[in-house]
Structures are given as C-alpha cells and as structure tokens.
C-alpha cells in the first residue's frame, strides 16, 4: 500500500507579521497536488495542525476546502485527517460522519477512528487519533470500574491521566481494539515522541513537563504517521516518522529541506519511506553581512538579518526594508543580548545608603565624597532612619 504522509500545514499562520497564505497556496495547490498526481497513493495522511488557530481566517479555510476537493474528487485519493494541538478538534470535525462516505476521513475523537483500506495484499487498518490534552483524555476515556469490596457492586471512578505519556499508554489498547486482528495497521497521531528534536516554532504541549511520549507506546503499529515536530525525522528505525511542516516557520528551520513522505507498506507490514522535497515560493534564510553589503542586494525571501557592523546604525531596518520586504528578524551581531537570567544582580541590592550617596556624589560631581562631608551625611542618614 502506498501512502503520502504530511502534517503541520498551519494554514493561516503569520511569520514576522507577514501572512503566509500566498506561500501555502503556492505549495499545496501546486507541488503537492503534482506529487499526489504523480505518485498515486492509496491515501493521503495529514497528521494534525491543519490550521494555525482554533478559529482560522476565512481564506485559510477556503484554501483547505479547495485542496481537499481537488485531492478527493479531482484526484480520487481518500484523505485521513486529524486535529492537532493548534486546531479546535470540534470545529475541524464538522461533518466528519457525513464526509467519511465521500472519502474524507476526519478523526473526530481522540479515542480513534479506524477505516479499512484495501491493497493488492489485503486489507490495511488506518487508525486516526486526534490530539487531546491529558485532562480531555481523562474525560473521554471510559471510566474505570472497580468492584467495591463488601457490596460487590461496580463503582465507576473518574480517570486521572497525569501526562501525555500515560494518556497514550491508556489509549493504545483502545486503538488496537479498533483494528481487525492480524491486519496491517497504520496509526496517524499528533504527539511529541521522546527522541525527536524540536524547532522554535512548535507550541509547547505542557507547561512544566515535557509532554513527551515514549516510543514504546506505539508498539504494534506497522507505521505511525506523526505530526507536531516541524523537522522531518524518523524514529524507531523508520517505523515512527514525522513528515515535518511543508514550510519553514522559524529561523531555526532556515536550512532544513522541507518534504512530504512517501510510505510503502508491503505485505508483511515492512515500511520503506522516501522524502519528496518541497521548494517554497519564498524560502526562509539567515543573511549575514554589514549594512552596506546588504543594501547592495535585494530579495523577496523571508530573511533573518544579522548585521556585522560594530555599532548599531540608525534607520538600518527602514533602509533594508526597501530592499527586503520580508524581514522577519534583525540582529546586531556585536551587541550582547540581554541575559535571560532571572536573578537580579546581588550587588545592586546590597548597597548601603552611605554607599549610595557616595555613588550619587560621584555621578553628579565627578569626584568622590570629601571626607569632611562624611559625618554630615552619616548623621543625616541616621536621623532619616527614625521616622
């Protein structure tokens, strides 16, 4: 079976104040559809973060509608779609039950939906599980039943899911149960699997705590199509894979080759993957040089500029903006960044009032406090201490 795996489209996102709509449209309506047409997969898997916000802008919704229409009706390729942590699961799952008959399979529950696809070797179960926070998962999972000692009656007790890892541990058996036994099975999920590397553009899944899931939770699936991390990468010898975002969304992705993944699943469930590279309309680059050199050139790309001039120059950004309309960041290399240490320097707090007055004198008069003034100042300080 041949599958095309992509994720993290983030339709409606802005970068440095510039809307990425045009770039996204260029990519999806162009190269992406071409790839689908050329490779003729049995299904397209989109592993979450379809939109960048819970309530996306209208033209993002329109773009998705257009792409899906052209994929499903035009190229007759079914699509499996899950909500990620940026999407609102309920809004994205509008019409899921109606659309399933037409070839668009949306996972409207984190407990998973499974559909059976057929290839030459037999049926394949594709299970799709939408992203859910541990709290939401605790609500959705069926309640545990404990037999109360003494009465013998079953008491349902509310679930407590401590973190994403435990959530997936509880969820995995339910997902397996949706598939027919002894069938090849593919999971589409949106999560942070331990061992993957982040970029700067992912939104954290949990504050304080990593929100990471260990790869062992996904045992039993022949292929796991993952979304959330924006760098394309494979884990567990290619069985778990992040397709990565089709566009670069932060400076840390500046030199990454973006791609979609073509997956071949053979009769025994073995997996081979191939990256199909994508070329953006306006790549994201880091550009370094002094002001004069940079002003000599021009570019439409999304640029993070690093200026090597020894001192900051006035009006630098305004002048560069004429040559580079898509500046997303600017930095003077020689300038020290403000430290991110959170502790205040202790010296500032420890100065005694007399020392402060001496510093004051020094700052105002340019000379240290004369010794005959010291007793006067000390007396004034003492009398001021008694309110």
């Amino acid at each position: 079976m041949r599958l095309l795996h992509t994720a993290d489209w983030h339709l409606g996102r802005t970068l440095g104040g510039h809307s990425l709509h045009q770039d996204q449209e260029f990519l999806f309506a162009g190269q992406f559809l071409e790839m689908v047409r050329d490779t003729k997969p049995d299904a397209v898997l989109i592993a979450g973060d379809i939109f960048d916000r819970a309530v996306p802008p209208a033209d993002a919704v329109e773009l998705l509608d257009d792409i899906l229409h052209r994929l499903i009706v035009g190229l007759r390729t079914p699509v499996v779609l899950i909500p990620g942590n940026h999407d609102d699961a309920r809004r994205l799952a509008f019409g899921a039950r109606l659309l399933a008959g037409g070839g668009l399979h949306i996972a409207d529950s984190p407990l998973g939906r499974a559909w059976t696809f057929h290839d030459a070797h037999g049926p394949v179960s594709i299970v799709a599980s939408g992203y859910a926070s541990p709290l939401l998962l605790a609500q959705k999972l069926p309640a545990e039943h404990h037999a109360t000692p003494g009465t013998g009656a079953d008491q349902p007790s509310p679930r407590v899911v401590a973190d994403h890892d435990q959530g997936m541990a509880l969820l995995a058996p339910l997902l397996h149960a949706l598939c027919t036994p002894n069938q090849r099975r593919v999971l589409v999920a949106h999560a942070f699997v331990a061992g993957g590397s982040e970029t700067e553009s992912e939104r954290g899944l949990s504050v304080g705590g990593t929100g990471q899931i260990s790869a062992a939770r996904f045992a039993g699936f022949h292929y796991v199509a993952l979304g959330h991390l924006h760098r394309p990468q494979s884990l567990a010898e290619g069985r778990l894979r992040y397709a990565g975002s089709p566009l670069a969304y932060s400076t840390s992705e500046a030199n990454q080759q973006k791609s979609v993944t073509l997956v071949e699943l053979d009769a025994q469930g073995g997996v081979t993957t191939q990256e199909l590279p994508l070329t953006p309309l306006h790549p994201l680059r880091i550009l370094r040089g002094d002001l004069a050199t940079l002003l000599a050139a021009t570019s439409q790309d999304y640029l993070a500029l690093e200026l090597t001039d020894p001192l900051p120059i006035a009006e630098a950004q305004r002048r560069l903006a004429q040559n580079y309309p898509r500046i997303i960041g600017l930095r003077w290399v020689a300038e020290a960044l403000p430290s991110t240490a959170t502790a205040l320097p202790a010296a500032a707090r420890a100065a005694s009032p007399l020392q402060q007055f001496e510093a004051f004198h020094q700052a105002m008069r340019g000379a240290p406090l004369p010794p005959e003034a010291r007793p006067v100042v000390t007396a004034a300080l003492t009398s001021a201490e008694q309110p």
């Binding site: 802005t14 440095g16 104040g17 960048d52 916000r53 819970a54 309530v55 609102d88 926070s133 709290l135 939401l136 609500q139 939104r203 954290g204 504050v207 304080g208 001192l311 900051p312 120059i313 006035a314 009006e315 630098a316 950004q317 305004r318 997303i328 960041g329 600017l330 930095r331 003077w332 300038e335 960044l337 403000p338 430290s339 991110t340 240490a341 959170t342 205040l344 320097p345 500032a348 707090r349 009032p353 402060q356 007055f357 510093a359 004051f360 004198h361 700052a363 105002m364 008069r365 004369p370 005959e372 003034a373 006067v376 100042v377 007396a379 004034a380 300080l381 009398s383 001021a384 309110p387």
Partner: protein, 1019 residues
Amino acid sequence: MRPLKLTMEGFGPYAARQELDFADLAPHRLFLICGPTGAGKTTLLDAICFALFGESSGAERQATHLRSLHATPDRPTEVTLEFHAAGQTWLIRRSPAWDRPKQRGTGTTTEGAKQALWQPGGTPLEKDKEVAARIHELLGLSAAEFRQVVLLPQGRFRELLVAKPEARQDILRTLFRTAFYARVQQALKDDAAAARQARRDAEFLLAALLARAGASSAETAAETRPALAAALAAAEAAARTATTAEATARAAETLARDTARRLTAAADAAAALAAHQAAAPAREAERQRLAAARRADQLRGALQAAEAAASQATTAAAEATLAASRLAAARTRLAAAEAALAEAPSQEAEAARLRAAAQRLEAQAQQVAAAEAATAAAAEAMRKAGAATDARVKAEDTARTAQQALTAALAAQTTTREAAAQAPRHRLERDQARARWSDLAAWEKAGRRLTAAEQARASAEAGLSAARQALAEARAALLADQAAHLALHLADGAPCPVCGSPDHPAPAQPHHASQAQPQHPSQAQPQHPSPAQPHQAATPDPAPLEAALEAARTAHAAAETEAQLAAAQRADSAARLGSPIPEKPALEAEGKAIAAALAQAEQAAAALPARDAAAAAAQTALDRAATALAAATAAEAQAAQTRAAAAATRDTLAQALPADLPPAATLRQQAATATAQATRLESALRQAREERAQAEGEARERTATQTNTAAHAAAAAEAATAAATALAAACTAAGFPGAEAARAALLPPAAQDALAAALAAHDTALAAAQATATRTAEDAAGLTPPDLPALAAALATATQARTAAERDATLAAAALRTHDALLTEIATAAATHTAAEAALALRDDLVALAEGRGGSGLDFEGFVLSGLLDEALAAANRHLSGMLAGRYALQRRQEPIRRNAAAGLDIEVQDRWNAQPRPAATLSGGEGFCASLAMALGLAETVAAHAGARQLGALFVDEGFGTLDAETLDTAVAVLESLQAGDRLVGVISHVAELRERLPARIEVSAGRGGSTASIITE
C-alpha cells in the same frame, strides 16, 4: 501571597454567595476570567483587593459603592479570602459599612465596617489597625503597591510608561519606598539650616564681644593693654608704702597698751583681797553647822529603830480589829442556816407523796394510750379491706375485657385465614382463564389463517384451472399449428407425414393467423430480466405451459395443505375451548372477576400474620388479667382477716378501762407536773443543808484568826515603848535636847560634802588673792599711765591709707585680667565664626547636591530611583526580548526633554532594528501592550526583590489583549505561560475569543436577573 479560596456575598454585581476555590483550577496555573461586559470580571480582583486592604482595585470604585444593588437588605456584604503567605494559611474577612434595617422599629441603622484576620484554629485579629499591620507584614506591600505589582488593572499599567517624570517619580517612590531618601534630603536641609543659625550666632557673639571691648576689631582691643599694665604697677607701689607706715603706728600703740594693763591688774588684785576678808564671818557659821550634822549622824541608827517599832505596833492593832469583825459576820450566817432547816421533815414527806401520785398517773396513761392505738389500727384495717375489694372488682373487669378481645381476635384470624386459603384456588382459576384466553386467541388466529389459506387455495385452484386451460389451448393450438406447420410443408403429391395421404384438400391454417397478436406460451410464465430469446416462428411451445401447470398444481397443493393445517389448528383450539366457543368480552369479565378475587385473597394472606399476632397478644393479655384477678382476690381475703383481728383487740382494751378518763396525754402531763414539784422540794432541802455546813466551817476558821492577831498586837506595842526610851537616852548623850533636835540637825552626806568643799575652796581663793595682789603690785611699780586714744587714732589713719592703696592695686589688676579674658574670647569667637562659615558652606553644597540643583536636576531620591528603575528595566527587557521578535528594548533617557526639568526618570523605547530611541507614547496599541506588560512584570519582580523578596504567588492582568494581532497574542500568551513557572497563579481577564481557545481553565462570570454568578470550568 497565593489566593486559595474566595467567597463573596452581596459584593458588586454578585448578590448570592459565590465560592471560588482556586484549587479547582488544579494543574492549570494560567486561567482566564471571561464573561460578557459588565458581568463582574474586574469585580473579582476588586474583591481580592478589598478583602486584603479594604480598597478596590482601581481608585474609581469607592469602597462604599461595593455593596451589591441586588443584595437582600438584611444580608451584609462580605468578602472572605483564604490565602497562603509566609508559609502559612490565613483567612481574612471584611465587610464595609452598610445600612441595615432596624430589628425594632422602621428605618435603617448603619452597621460599621468590620474585619477579621485569623489562622485556622487561631484567635482572630479584629481591629482595623492590627489587621492592616499584619497584612502589611505578611505581604510586604501596601495597597498601592499591590495594585501596581499583583493586580495590573485595566489600562493602568501603561500609564507608568507614558507618565511625566514627576508623576513617575511619585509612583516609583510609593513602590520602592524611597521616602527614606527624601527624608535624607530633608535631614541635610535641616542640618544646613542649623549650621546657618550657628554661624549667625557666632557673628552676633563676636560683634558683642568687640562692642564690649570698645574696639572695632581684635587688634584695636589689644592696643589698650599696656596702659592698664602700667597703672597696675603704680598702684602696687603705693600700697606697699602705706603698709609700712601702718606697721609703725601699730607698734607704738601696743607698747602703751601693755603699760596700762599692768596698772589695772595691781588695782584689781588689791580689791579682791579686801572682798575675801569681808566674807570671813559667814564662813565661820557654816563651819559650825557642819560639826552639828556630824554629831547627828551618829544617832541615826537609834532614831530609825524607834520609828520602826512604833509603826509595827500600829499595824498589828489594825489586824486584830479586822479579824474580830469577820468572826461576828460568820456567826450571823450560821444562825440563819439553822433557821432555814427547821422545816425539813414536813417538806420531805410532801415530796414523797407527790412522787407516788405521779407513778399512778403514769400507769393510767399507758393503758389509755394502748386503747387508743388499738382503735386506730382497727380503722386502718377496715380501710385496707375496702381497697382490696375494689381492686378485685377491677381485676375482674379487666379479665372480662381481655376475654372479649381474645374472642374477637380469634374470629378475625379465622376469617382471614379462610380468605387466604382461597388464594391458591383463585390463582388456579386465573391460570385457567389465561389459558382459555390464549386458546381463544389461537383459535381466532387459526381462523384467520384458515380463511387466508382457503382464499389461497381458491386462487390456486383458479390458477390451476387457468393453467390447465392455457395448456390445453396451447396444446390445441400447437396441434392446430402443427397441423398448419405440417400443412405448410405439404406438397401436392407428397404423402402427409401424419396420415400418409397425398391429397391435401384442406390444409390446416396457422392458428395464430386469426389472432392479431399471438400470445406466446412462454409469456404465461413471469418475465425474466435475461436477454430475450429469439422469437420462434409461430410455434407455441407447450413446455413452459406445462411447467406453469406444474407450478400451479404445486401451489394448489400447498394451498390445500395450508388450508388443512389451518383447519386442523382451528379445530384443535376449538376442542380445547369446548363448546360453545366463549365470547371475548365474557372471558374478559371473567378474568377480571378472578383477578379481583385473587387480589382480595392475597391481601388477606398478607394480613394474616398481623391477625395471628393480634390473637396471640390478646391471649397473653387475657392470661395476665386472670393472674391479676387471682392475686386481687387473695389480697381481699387477707385484708378482711386483718380487719377482724384489729376490731377484736380494740374491744378488749376498751372494756378494761374505767369510764371518764381523760386522754393519755393529759394524764401524762399531770404526772410530769407532780414529779417536777417533788424534785424541786428535794433539791431545796439539799441546798439548805449544805449552807449550814459551810457556815459552821467559816465560823470556826475566823475564831482562830481573831485569837492570833490579838496576841500579835500586844507584843508589838511593848517593843515600841522600849525603843522610844532608848532613843531619848542617846540624844541626851550626844548633846541634843531631844530627838527632834537631833533629827533637825541631820544632813544628807552629799550636802555635808558640798559644804566642806565650799569651805575649802574659799580658803584656797583667799590665799591666791593674797599672792596675786603681791605680784601685781611689784609689776606696776614705777609706771605712768599712757595716752591711748591718740595713739589709737594714729593707727587707724595709717590703716585706712593702707586699705585704700591696696584696693586701688586690686582694681587695676582686675581690669587687666578682664581685658585679657576679653581678648581671648574675641579670638575664640572669631575662630568659631570662621569654622561655622566653613561648615555652612559644606552643608549648603551637600543640600544643593541632594536636591539636584544646578546640574541635571536629579535629586538623591531620583538618583536611587533611577538605579532601581534601571533594575526594573533590565528585568522588563528580559521579557520584552522574547516578544515582538526582540525588536524593542526599554531604556532610561539620559537628557531631559526640556531644560530645567528633572531628568533621569524618563523612559524611552529603543528600536534595535533601527538603532533609534523613540518616546514610549509613539508605540502602537499592540506594541505598547507588550512593552507595558514587560514593564509591569519587570517592576513587579524588582519590587518583590527589594521588598524583602516575599514570594508573589499570584499575578492578575486585566484586559488589554484586544489590541494584539494573532501572532503577538501568541507570544503574549507564551510569556504569560512562562510566568507559571515557580508555582505562580496567573489570572487574565479578557474577552478575546482566541484566549478562550488557548486557556483551558476558566472562571466564567455570567450575569443574571438576580445578580451575577462566577463558576470555575476546566476542560
């Protein structure tokens, strides 16, 4: 400070009691407070601020306006906050002053503001000042600081960014408590004022001193000194001369005085001697006196003896007289006692008689008493017998009633049991009826089925006959057609395959030629959707018709079978039902009746246990009553017996008594009186006898005494006489005329000694006077009296002159000293003045420095504040560098905007991309929000670090997110999420929809008709 639980009642738009437990937000530290406009979102922050400080979160809402308009008039407005501070849990409750309806009368009375702060299980602090002080201690912040640092109210934190420097200094001063530095400035100013005063004083002093010296300056004053010194020297020389003259005069005078003295002494001595000699005769008289006294001393002993004897005699005589009189008294007493006893015997007899009477009366009384007791016992027994009879009657009644009850209970039990026994029978009937009902239904169903089956059979028959007909026709047609078919191929001369005849006079015509549309036999069967078979030329084919016939036959047979089955079933049901077939309504009614009967029987069965119990109880009651009756009867018999016995006793006793006896009590009384009288008589006799015995004894004693004393008196008289005689003899011997004279000559020894001494002294003095007179006469020989007054006058004059000269010298010395002292003072004062000038200059300089005059205009407090502001800005920049792609940084402006304006506290924003500073007011709404938020966070961290680093466990941001675009909103939320580290609770008030999606934990505030409600939602 971390809020744990907030409870509000009647506060702002919240009328009903709202309880918000922040623990319900559980793992989420960042939460949203959302709700429609005016529902009461900011009021939650007001509540927290009010609970802690008694003020609202912004200054616009007065504390008195906080009472809810929806609140019921008799419920107070109250806010309770449970919070965690300094490692402990505290609760604080506060209610503002409010008008309460009076409990008595109409109108309202004002109830004052109340507050209470306590730890769970501890005593509450209730005074306003105590609570405020403790809150200040726990939180480390005042209300203004709290508002700036923990609650960031609507639109207010931007004002720090755009305020004028003076206003910013005010705000920062409150936050960082730099009033101390203002006080330092003030202290320096005071010090300078004091120094100025000191200098002025020094000036005055110097001027005064110079005036005193009569000079205009110190140098001029020094010039007058030499003249004074010379004057002093002259005066001292004059003094010395005068002293010498005086000494001479004195010597002359002394000599003259000595001469005069000698002459006087001689004259005095002679006079003294003459005096002594004149006093000689007196001395002689005294000498004689002394001798007489000495003689009388010798007689002293005899005199004393005579006196002693005389007194003894007197005493003895007196004693004898006294003894005699006492004896007479004792004799009189004895006589009286004897007289009293004369009557003794008759009285004894009387006493005995009385005793006997008393005994007799006593016996009678006992008898009477016994008779009375017996009467009383008899009456009592009668009463008891009557009571026993009553009891028995009652017991009989009870037994009777119990018997009746038992009978009734048994009857009821029997009826119920019978009814219950019916139940199985009814059940059986019910089952039967049900069976019949189902049979009837089956019969009807069978009937229907039969009808249907017959219909089917009829149609099957029809179909069969039709099929037969068709087949026959088809066969006929086939035959006919065959004939025609054969006929077609007939050729004249060829033999017919059928009959062999070569002639064919009338060949058969195709059967179908007469028909307009040939009916193909295959169309007797139902149509198949398979492709049409090629149409056979005019040859009907009987095979399908045969098949059809078979089918029809089969159908018919099936229908027949079906009909038979149905008939059989029906018959079966009918047999079970019996004849006649019952009607449905009748069966129904029957069923209902049976059900009713069954219900009744079951009810009875249910009631049966109760009836059983009742019967048993009645039985028990009856048994009890019977026992009681037996007991009562026995008691009655007993009582009757007792009564009879008592009556008998009474009668016996009454007979034994004589009639007309008074009651026992009276008798007893009489006996007692008699006894008392007897006792009295006996005791009187006894007493009289004793008296007589005592009187006898006394008389005896006194007789003896009287005899002794008389003898004694006689002896003493004799002795006295003897002594007197002896004395007279001794006196005569000593040369005295009589004892009187001897006594008169006595003198005490001291007087004698004194007299002797005086005589001796006079003798000595005489001798001495003689000697002196001799000596002085020798001294004064040949001297002449001097002229003393003249010499004395000369001496006095010389002394006067000396004194005057000395005085002048002293004055001159004093003047010189004074002048020297003055010069020293002037020098000191001048030095002091110079020092005071220097000190004043120093202090004025320090004041000018501290107040920021003449320079950058930054005073000391401002300088410290600018340092703190730098810290705050550094902290703010740490946050701001993560927002807006690190484009902006906050910094302090170095030059003032206007000249002469206070500098150093202006904030401007550095656009790092353009290396240009911009005033903070020029930022756009969203950029301004990020800068203000970073500023507020930096300020909060700095204040917390300087205010003793009391951990601020909570932070609230009120509105402002509406100005941000989606990307900036994302980073702002990321910044707020990062604040949750360190277990800090971060609350955000906003109506922006995107935040509702991002923040799963919410407090939803909804407005209703009766006030708003707030509830916590997590998903």
